[in-house]
Symmetry: C2
Subunit: 416 residues, 2 copies
């Protein structure tokens, strides 16, 4: 990987430059709306829904925000997740690095340790460039993941499953082959690459809002028609005068993105710098998976996490480079977390009502919009009757069909 010291500065302009580099290789995925989910997010929960949550029995009634949701569908991205953006960007930057090509870099290849989407993303980006890719995977990885990574032409190297074992295996590959390490999130080039989805989401939502205005809703429905501000406004109470934001015309107000290692979240935050779009991170709360939230609120980055949350893409601790953007520069405004049951319920709604396949990690921001009373109260308080346009990052769609049975088996379905 290119030396971080020589990377472009972490700015919105650098995200735009990254976009120019990766555009030939990645899909400009669609931004979609869904009337059912927007309506659910804009409906106050019943007091009994809050029983057993941290908001049970509080004095004020459940929040009644007006929310319009805009879904960035990276589940429809190549390899089924946003990770190709960072991987292609990292390789393009390597190719620009003085001496890398001349030094035989293309023949020496690239290496990473990952059993997830980054493994397939790097394998694809390397193959596209005719570069060998070495992927260190735990020897207990699911056979389907191993086969998929090999399917992109990568050489899979097995290791033990601790981070020490994986790093040792990667170091051995580097020693033997001269391959360059491309880490999954903790590098400026990865951060800038992933941030390109934030640019597309902002642009597409703004365009769709403008188009909807020039073709106002009558009886006419069209696919994915957004709920208009007028429709929403009629049903909502007046904003309280204190703390009310001035609604920005035809722009997103907020983006909610999942946070694992934080590469994508910090990239999206950079893509919003100076635009007025507010960015929040979303995490599972299970077994301490809300490490970024805890670190952000305490001022000290949490460096280890050990959780088996169903949102398996979000089990990693926040990286140093993401932390510098998210916390030190305060480009992320805060974090919200959700329970395993809330993630599962949000996932079910997406499968059943949106007819989209997403992976559990990708359901976390929607779960925040639907179920996190702190977030919902913020929107009600600050955006009132006019409501807020909220971008939701569907980060990936690599859902193992076999685990659906364990998620949705038995009598749980009556709930929805």
């Amino acid at each position: 990987m290119a030396d971080p010291a020589t990377s472009a500065p972490l700015t919105r302009a650098s995200v735009q430059a990254a976009h120019d580099l990766v555009r030939p290789f990645v899909h400009h995925t669609p931004t979609l709306t869904n009337a059912t989910l927007t309506s659910l997010a804009s409906t106050a929960r019943r007091p009994e829904d809050l029983v057993g949550t941290e908001w049970e029995g509080r004095a004020q009634p459940p929040a009644s925000p007006a929310v319009r949701l805009w879904f960035k569908c990276e589940n429809l991205q190549r390899i089924g997740a946003f990770k190709v953006r960072g991987a292609f960007h990292a390789i393009e930057k390597l190719k620009q690095e003085p001496g890398w090509l001349a030094g035989g870099g293309k023949e020496k290849g690239v290496v990473t340790h990952s059993s997830g989407n980054h493994a397939q993303a790097l394998a694809l980006a390397a193959r596209t460039n005719g570069i060998p890719a070495y992927i260190v995977m735990p020897d207990i990885s699911p056979p389907a993941k191993i086969a998929a990574t090999r399917g992109y032409g990568a050489k899979v190297i097995f290791s033990g499953s601790t981070s020490v074992e994986r790093e040792a295996a990667a170091a051995k590959v580097i020693e033997e082959t001269g391959a360059r390490l491309v880490p999954p999130y903790d590098h400026p080039d990865i951060v800038l690459g992933q941030g390109t989805l934030g640019l597309e989401l902002q642009e597409d939502a703004a365009r769709m809002m403008t188009e909807a205005e020039s073709d106002p809703p009558s009886g006419k429905c069209s696919f994915a028609a957004p709920v208009t501000k007028q429709e929403r406004g009629e049903r909502k109470p007046e904003p309280s005068s204190s703390g009310a934001k001035t609604k920005r015309r035809n722009q997103l107000d907020i983006i909610l993105a999942p946070c694992g290692g934080g590469g994508m979240l910090s990239g999206v935050a950079l893509s919003c710098e100076g635009t007025g779009v507010r960015v929040f991170g979303c995490e599972p709360s299970f077994e301490g998976a809300d490490d970024a939230k805890r670190g952000f609120e305490s001022g000290t980055r949490v460096e280890t996490v050990k959780t088996l949350t169903v949102a398996d893409g979000l089990r990693t601790p926040l990286g140093r480079v993401p932390w510098s953007v998210i916390y030190e520069r305060r480009l992320v405004e805060g974090f919200y977390s959700v329970t395993e049951a809330e993630i599962r319920d949000a996932l079910r709604l997406v499968l059943e009502r949106f007819k989209m396949v997403i992976e559990p990690s990708a359901a976390v921001p929607l779960a925040v919009a639907l179920y996190n009373e702190d977030f919902r109260a913020l929107v009600e308080r600050e955006y009132g009757a006019e409501g807020a346009d909220v971008g939701i990052v569907f980060s990936g769609g690599n859902l193992n069909l076999e685990i659906l049975g364990s998620l949705f088996g038995g009598g749980e379905s009556a709930k929805n």
Copy 2:
């Protein structure tokens, strides 16, 4: 329901008129492409893939067609299936029927017997018009289906599960309320309404082909970019001179649609009349579910079917009105059937690779394109190197998550 004798003639122009009537109420669903599925459909199967099929051991090698697939996503339609098109059309036509409104028709309401998508479609169309809807459902219907139908404001009446019992229950409702029967498929107004999806598919695919031509592929990828004729053509053998069709420029060549009662298939066939687009019906073969195919080939409509195919929307026999369009007027060119395993494999590909949720019935046409050697040999023979543009109707997306476990549980997954 409007008296069939007073319905519009079964012509393409009547489908266009139906489209004008239903357009305010239904989504214009997107037509999408998917590079992975198009590539799979354009790859010859291995001889060992045909072991155990009717094509095992035949002399010629597996067919090697060039196919570009265009998916009409009615899984993203309101209530999750195309059925709203027919239901809204039927009610609009009732409103136009002399004397129906004046005779208190709106107060008397509408009735049908269905436990499937038609029940919810009629309930929604009736509620939209402020008309009571009575839905006769078998008393063994899944609670979720009952709740969903009631959720649209319909009154659910339970009956036994034989057709005699259901019809008796519906007759009793009509006697007591004066409600008008709106059958699920066997009526001209339903046929014309469902056919509107065929118009949209033809128009959208033609537009997308033209756009792709004016923006030729470079290294640039975009979401759902169709494989170009050039790309395909380079990989394919020359067409045999005998039987080769002249490729029509920027139009679909073929539409594959599922066939249960045949309302949608016959409507789509009408939407293609005189355009040169060839229409084929697709059925499961399990337990005689290929009734339309058998009837079409023998010249006698099969009137009863008893099958538990996983494609539960396709368990009904072909209706009389559809038969008149499909067989007597020969607007459908033929039928293809697929096995339960082929339906399941196609469904898995759509969930895993297309990230779309569809129901098993909707996977049947894709299964034909991927696995039916008779269809694939026809495309190779008649379209050769140039290949065929094939529209695939994704008829609905109401997939019960609980049945996914039974479909994809165990060790079957290794196959894909």
